[in-house]
């Protein structure tokens, strides 16, 4: 199992994602200007502030050369996980529905949140149980999820993760914390599972399940 973690100028959690992924498989960094996915079986678009979040979070990064390959890989059903800024990039790239807007309180907020798994039939939640609660930190300024037709998303099982009652840190529509595409192979979420893989520094290891899921998917 080989993970490829994209590195844009301004990516911050790329090495963390690589560390987390390497707990369940091999993990390499993919340079934004290359067009080579290095034979990765799953792609992670990590957190951070690609291109400084200037103009609009994810707006510039989604045009990086490597993204052409990631988009093609995703269209062929390859598993792609977008975390925080990566989620923003995948929405901007049209691989995931909706968009992420500035938090309703307009501040950066870093805190441990509890999310509930709604759909386990995706490339990154297979190792979870429906209704299972995961404790994962989130940290962002632009995480308020919006989609024009949330009913359709829910009906289609595209809402993968929901903030537990009272835990919505950003004003996201219907407490949506993570979504997937119709093919279930592309998943994006605002919380940072790569920062919840080691009790010692993560306060929880629940996030490991998302990476393990990718391995299960391929096994």
């Amino acid at each position: 199992m080989k993970f490829g973690v994209v590195r844009f100028p301004g990516s911050c959690d790329d090495v963390d994602a690589q560390l987390a992924a390497s707990r369940v498989g091999e993990a390499v960094l993919l340079w934004h200007a290359d067009r080579d996915l290095q034979g990765a079986d799953a792609i992670i678009v990590p957190g951070g502030f690609s291109y400084g979040d200037y103009l609009r979070a994810g707006a510039i990064a989604r045009f990086a050369p490597i993204m052409e390959e990631v988009i093609a890989f995703a269209r062929d059903g390859g598993p792609v996980l977008g975390i925080c800024n990566g989620f923003q990039v995948l929405c901007e790239a049209g691989l995931l529905p909706g968009a992420l807007l500035p938090n309703d309180h307009l501040r950066f907020r870093c805190r441990q949140v509890t999310v509930e798994v709604l759909n386990t039939d995706t490339a990154f939640t297979r190792a979870c149980e429906v209704g299972e609660r995961l404790s994962i930190p989130c940290k962002h300024t632009t995480g308020r999820y919006y989609a024009p037709d949330p009913d359709a998303l829910e009906a289609g099982g595209q809402v993968v993760l929901r903030y537990a009652p009272g835990e919505n840190p950003n004003g996201s529509l219907r407490d949506i914390a993570g979504v997937c595409n119709e093919g279930r192979n592309v998943v994006g979420l605002m919380p940072h599972p790569e920062h919840a893989v080691d009790e010692r520094v993560g306060g929880s290891a629940d996030g490991l399940k998302l990476f393990a899921s990718a391995a299960v998917a391929l096994a």
Partner: protein, 79 residues
């Protein structure tokens, strides 16, 4: 409006789509009365992008692909 280099100086106004919560607008609207400004309403905060372009016909595509996100924003090109 003409740009120094003879090209065109274009201005793009980008607004949050109607119906989408605009917390920045709300924050401004809340702050104004506190400063003694009465009778202000319907405040919205968006983005302003100004640029020199040689080929103005590219502007619309530029807005759709990069400067604005049509899902959440409307844009207006002012030349």
């Amino acid at each position: 409006m003409a740009a120094e280099d003879g090209g065109l100086r274009a201005r793009v106004l980008i607004r949050p789509k109607a119906g989408i919560l605009d917390p920045q607008g709300i924050a401004v609207e809340r702050a104004l009365p506190a400063l003694g400004f009465k009778g202000v309403s319907n405040v919205h905060v968006g983005r302003l992008v100004e640029l020199d372009v040689e080929d103005a016909s590219q502007l619309d595509e530029m807005c759709r692909r990069l400067l604005a996100n049509p899902l959440i924003e409307d844009y207006e090109i002012v030349k």
